[in-house]
Point group: C2
């Protein structure tokens, strides 16, 4: 199946001029959802992975299912103030201003091999901040996997040096 | 394994007097995470399920993994304003004031058999609102499954008439 056909495009969301790629139609389609997790699992084959990180909140759906398939632990990367224990934090740039993400300080051990999962690679800001959290813990990012890549944005540039994998690419808005 | 031993208790989060049950330590422990999804899958055995609904955002982790195990579609229930297409909405009570959750209007078909998944059953407000969204769509809730049940709160009362299943119960704060 062409997974792109299961993704719905919604013009002017969340604001005018943006075409939002809506994965809820893919999740709803059991064959498309299964295929997306199959393909993520194939990407993982032969790799040594200790932990899968999922980024709030759509990254939790794919990351949770993939961690279950791979039989590894799952680490949630969350917006500021959501995690209850001691955290480490990274800021990243938004179009205007900054935002930040957090991970529990004891989530990773030095030397852990980590796969980062999200639904979307856009400008790469959140993903890059997530990789910094991993490295701050002394762990190593062995790959970044996403359902969708907006290839007309500079995500891959921002993530230079990492192994970046995506299932569906959009070359223009 | 006693799953409760994999859950961390954090006093005074998110505010003084509350003991927060932190499932991130369970997610991190690959054996505990696997066992929790195994037990949810066992609960599903023999039931006819068309869709699994997960509630933002920790419900996405368990709901996503369970939908993948069961080979069914997944529907995200989200906070107001997050879903890009036409939604239906339900309000629910907070300690002070109200909040609301949304589901895409076309997510369920009349007659769909639906399992609702979240990490926690507390007062039952969000879960009850979710069941109303399902019924508003003409679909049927065949069960509500959660990792944790705070049995000293009136969640089950609020959810009377539904089949409620939880993996770990706390009888006091």
């Amino acid at each position: 199946m062409d997974l792109k056909s299961a993704i719905r495009s919604i013009p002017n969301f969340p604001k005018k001029g943006i075409v939002f790629r809506d994965i809820t139609t893919l999740l709803l389609d059991k064959a498309a959802f299964k295929q997306s997790i199959d393909q993520l699992e194939n990407y993982c084959k032969g790799k040594k992975i200790d932990k899968i990180l999922g980024i709030e909140s759509r990254g939790f759906i794919f990351g949770g299912a993939l961690a279950d398939r791979m039989g590894v632990g799952f680490v949630p990367i969350r917006k500021k103030g959501k995690l209850p224990a001691k955290t480490i934090r990274q800021e990243y740039q938004l179009e205007y201003g900054t935002d930040s993400i957090e991970m529990h300080a004891d989530a990773l051990k030095p030397g852990d091999l980590v796969l980062v999962v999200d639904d979307l690679i856009a400008t790469g800001g959140t993903l890059s901040a997530t990789c910094k959290l991993v490295e701050q813990s002394g762990a190593k990012v062995i790959g970044i996997a996403a359902l969708i890549e907006l290839a007309f944005l500079p995500g891959r540039e921002k993530l230079t040096g990492y192994d970046v994998f995506s299932l569906v690419k959009y070359d223009s808005e």
